[in-house]
């Protein structure tokens, strides 16, 4: 459905997206995850043809965004960030305008309009001015507009941003219901949203993809993974080497040797707290602190998107 190859976008001296690659199959729900300013919106804007890439290629449904922009845009339903809408219009007029831009007429128009309005639950607000709607209903109108031409691909940029918890759940349910027959890409920096709605997560940091995994793989990592934080009294410079040798592990890092203490961090698939304790005892290292942190999507996200993480 979507092929993105070596995609980059620069604005004057700033490179917002750096050489990213991914493929998305028909019917997938993919979450683009990343901190603010990571390049999620820029990537989505390139997918929709709003921005032209500085380099690289995007193919959607067999059409190149660069050479067949209009054909691609006919296949896409796009909800921009902050659900930008023409607030001077009535809901019905806005949907009519979007439909006319897609050249929908007659029965097809009526059928699609009925579906978009009922799927998003905005029947009661159909003749209301958009400016008078709550943020949640504005978001629904935005989503209804993305559905009006029955697109095969939905691109939703932070669809729950700024909503209250009840509205977030409603919009997530709506997205799940749409996922039955559509490919969906949604961006967010809310981790729960990815866990609740997506099958696959692409984590972007500083314009680069740092993780692209099906959610079930990430869940497996969460179930089995532990991060151990170790604090030893005194400057024990060979601690990393000794632990690597005795525990037979490679993923051990020296965090700091400040304040006369040795701070270490290691990641293990199983809980190996006892082995760490025994190793410290054997070598006479005064163990000041030892605690295990279960890996979560949050910790994976943090480690991948913190400065230099995941690179």
């Amino acid at each position: 459905m979507i092929q993105v190859e070596n995609l980059s976008k620069s604005f004057q001296n700033v490179t917002a997206v750096k050489n990213i690659n991914f493929h998305i199959q028909k019917g997938e729900i993919v979450g683009l995850l990343g901190p603010n300013g990571a390049g999620k919106t820029t990537t989505m804007r390139m997918l929709t043809g709003f921005y032209k890439p500085t380099s690289g290629k995007i193919t959607i449904g067999g059409y190149s965004v660069e050479t067949d922009r209009l054909e691609v845009q006919k296949k896409i339903g796009y909800l921009p960030e902050n659900s930008a809408l023409y607030t001077d219009m009535l809901v019905c007029d806005y949907l009519l305008f979007i439909a006319s831009a897609f050249k929908l007429t007659g029965d097809v128009f009526q059928k699609n309009l009925d579906y978009a309005v009922s799927a998003t639950g905005i029947e009661k607000y159909f003749y209301r001015p958009i400016s008078q709607l709550s943020k949640g209903y504005k978001q629904r109108v935005g989503i209804a507009a993305t559905l009006i031409h029955d697109p095969s691909l939905l691109i939703l940029d932070e669809p729950t941003s700024g909503l209250d918890p009840n509205q977030i759940i409603e919009i997530q349910k709506l997205i799940m219901s749409l996922a039955k027959d559509k490919t969906i890409i949604l961006s967010t920096h809310i981790l729960n949203e990815i866990e609740n709605t997506c099958q696959r997560a692409i984590i972007i940091s500083e314009g680069q993809i740092v993780l692209d995994e099906p959610l079930k793989n990430i869940n497996a990592l969460k179930k089995g993974g532990f991060k151990f934080h170790i604090l030893l009294a005194g400057r024990i410079t060979d601690a990393v080497e000794v632990l690597k040798k005795e525990l037979g592990m490679e993923d051990i890092q020296l965090v700091s040797l400040d304040d006369g203490d040795t701070k270490l961090q290691l990641t293990a698939a199983n809980h190996i707290g006892e082995q760490i304790y025994q190793c410290a005892a054997r070598h006479g290292w005064p163990l000041k602190e030892l605690f295990a942190e279960k890996e979560s999507l949050e910790s994976i996200f943090q480690s991948l998107t913190s400065a230099g993480g995941g690179k």
């Binding site: 006919k74 896409i76 809408l85 001077d88 831009a101």
Partner: protein, 241 residues
Amino acid sequence: MNLSWQNIRAVYTREINNYFNTPIGYVFLLIFSLFINFLFLYLPNFWDVNSASMENFFSWMRIVYLFLIPAITMRLWSEEKKSGTLEVLFTLPLQTAETILAKYLSALSFLGFALSSTIFIPISLGTISSPDWMLIFGGYLGLILLGAAYIALGLFISWLTQDQIIAFLVSLAAFFVFFIMGYPPFLQFMGFLSPLAAFASASWHFDSLARGMLDTRDIMYFISFTGLFLYLNYYSIENKK
């Protein structure tokens, strides 16, 4: 580039409705109509001249345009940029040229509504005397062409900012430059460059039409002016993407 009139009509309808979705559009037209008709009746020299003439009216309209056209064009792009709806518009399957033309034609239509409210002036003149209809026709043609040119420039300026007030003020300043360049004291000041300044001046070409001289050079000037700024608008949008 094959433009679709269906697409142009879709955006045009939205844009023209935008002028009338709030009372502001109607109030604007009403005030304009009252002001212009009042101005005409109380223009200096109107009742003093022996023949029924709209010469002073057309002369005043050049100045009214300096404020009227920026008010019509200021929001066309800047509001879309500020509210984020530009993203909605540019991700619909519409060509950039179709969107520009639709916005341009909607502003031109609104100007048409405004000008049509002055039609009572020549009708009144016709009932009480025998005006030179060629002069009136030339004057209105000049107003339409001058408006068309200024709207293209105002639309382009609106693209350059997301602040409507800035768009208004910059348009006002730009129109003033094209207005003043044809003003006799300015032409004197320009010395040997005065023919060039006069040719570049919108008001100079307008005056020529308003005198009833339908010179194709004046018409071509306004068409070229309009085409240039519509193209600049297109180029800067494509370049920004």
